[in-house]
Amino acid sequence: MTTAEMPQTSETQPGHGDVLLDVKGLKMYFPVTSGILFQRAVAYIKAVDDVNFTVRRGETLGLVGESGCGKTTTGRCILRLYRPTDGEIWFDGTEIANAKTGQMRAMRRQMQIIFQDPYSSLNPRMTAGNIIGEPLAVHGLVNNKREYRERVAELLNNVGLNPYMADRFPHEFSGGQRQRIGVARALSVDPSFIVCDEPVSALDVSIQAQIINLLEDLQERYDLTYLFIAHDLSVVRHISDRVAVMYLGKIVEVADRNAIYENPQHPYTRALLSAVPIPDPILDAQRERIILSGEVPSPLNPPSGCVFHPRCPLATDDCTRVNPEAREVMPDHIAACINVPGYGAY
């Protein structure tokens, strides 16, 4: 299992391994409380339940899944916007799942996030220039006003906006331009790793391509590593090097981009891919179409055994009992399904 081999790399060779981010056994449970004065937890929502994956330096790992599968929570745990319930997060040789607030602040010079909604993620009372420049001041990256202004202008330029727009407020920009401001803010501290949390899903189709191209250009120019969270499988295929598929708090399949899209192993991945229509009537008519029955169960009360078994076309009796751990079913291709040929053979 690759995930079990990873710890040595990150602990023994800090900063020099192939792996930039190593997430091991990550769990994030949100308590459901009851009582007014003395709130006690009566149940837990298992938003992320024992997730393992690695992100290699310079690559883009796509994280896909339907809403509520825990992909955004995973991204936020990595940035420590939540304190994980359990598990380890190794970033560039440092364990950060239990890091203190001060340590984390320093770490965030290395890791940044671009949010989904360009309308609510920018402070409406700050100018674009101050939104982009605030991290510079917080981290003490500039010495004086002139440097600050020059750096802000440079950042605006890098994301395809005009430096004179620094004095405008967010409402004066269109959705695509706002997302560019969000990108510039993330870039301001010169990070090595960016979590892109659905960066294009709130944008119009013709604008989406502009932002995707921008992210690709910046990755090349600044050697960035991306964790690209999205529900749109076509976008993820375009931008990712490797792809991880999540379902109900668990990762069900991880593989190279081509392997996932051309040779998906997990029945959920197959259904997900077949549900995406292709804008070509002839090709689309020839594709296999798997329509899943039912809906995603509640993470409050997940099904026994494999969480996907109530909707799975391949489910057997064993699936209701055994919780399949993610294993290699082919070299570099991990799937969590006992019915995949090759499961357990490696």
Partner: protein, 347 residues
Amino acid sequence: MDPLLEVKNLQTYFFTYEGVVKAVDDVTYEVMPGETLGLVGESGCGKSVSALSLMRLIPDPPGKTVGGEVMFDGEDILQVDMDDMRRIRGAKMAMVFQEPMTSLNPVLTLDRQLTETIQLHMGKSRDEARQDAVDLLARVGIPDPERRIRQYPHQFSGGMRQRVMIAMALSCNPKLIIADEPTTALDVTIQAQILELMKSLTDTLGVALIIITHNLGVVARYADRVNVMYAGKIIERGSALEIYTNPRHPYTVGLLDSVPRLDQRLTDTEGNAAKLVPIEGQPPDLVNLPQGCSFRARCRWAVDKCATEAPPLMQVESSDGEEPHVSACWRSEELGVQALSYAMGTA
């Protein structure tokens, strides 16, 4: 065959403090009985407003349908009075809205919401209507309909609520259903369920369907004919096959090029990673539409003539002989070959 719906020169404007927003400007199209028509475009292009105008649901003020004709089933809907409109709406034409979360009344049980329409339009008794409603819920795939019908909307998931909306739309045997972004708020696997359901129900019942969406894939899979809208106007129309294999308007070409697709090649001929080709710039402000073609500012093929004269919809050569293919571009004819080679070179 006579068309079921004929929209002629429809104009719906919004009179705001900033000026007159020409949300739908001179739109003409028709829907044949039983066919599925796709209406594609980005947000703000007027696709939803054109549908709401057909239902006479434009909030007035500030909105007003200032011109045109909508012939539906032999009468001009824009001329009938509100009482008659109430008889048509829900009975002969029904609508499925985008947001299943907000389009059902949260304080009434499904029973009340479904039987109300049936009692009103079909003149049935409460008990008959309830039986019909239970049958409908079963038909749209809601398990245990006798129990579920007594529940409130919050007890249903998004996909289930959209099924309820479809049941409601079908309840009075309409001739036309308008689905405004019916699956945008839903997850991919649920989207597929709902679209399959709508398609199979409208096919078996012979109901015409207008699908309004920004998702080109959805239209390719489910529509017979496609209208592409930009800045309040229809800029291209043809059979679904024609639009996807032989697009003749620069905007349609741009849209097809700019979305990543599952079947796309990921590297170009030299082995470099393929890039998307975005449509540069922003859609125009509908208050201050430029003279000439409204797509000109973003268009790769614009010529001088585009700045002065707005191109009308003109017939172009269609490989699918039956169905006319029209495009509002001065250079449609020469564009055909060029545009496709452009798309191929980058895809």
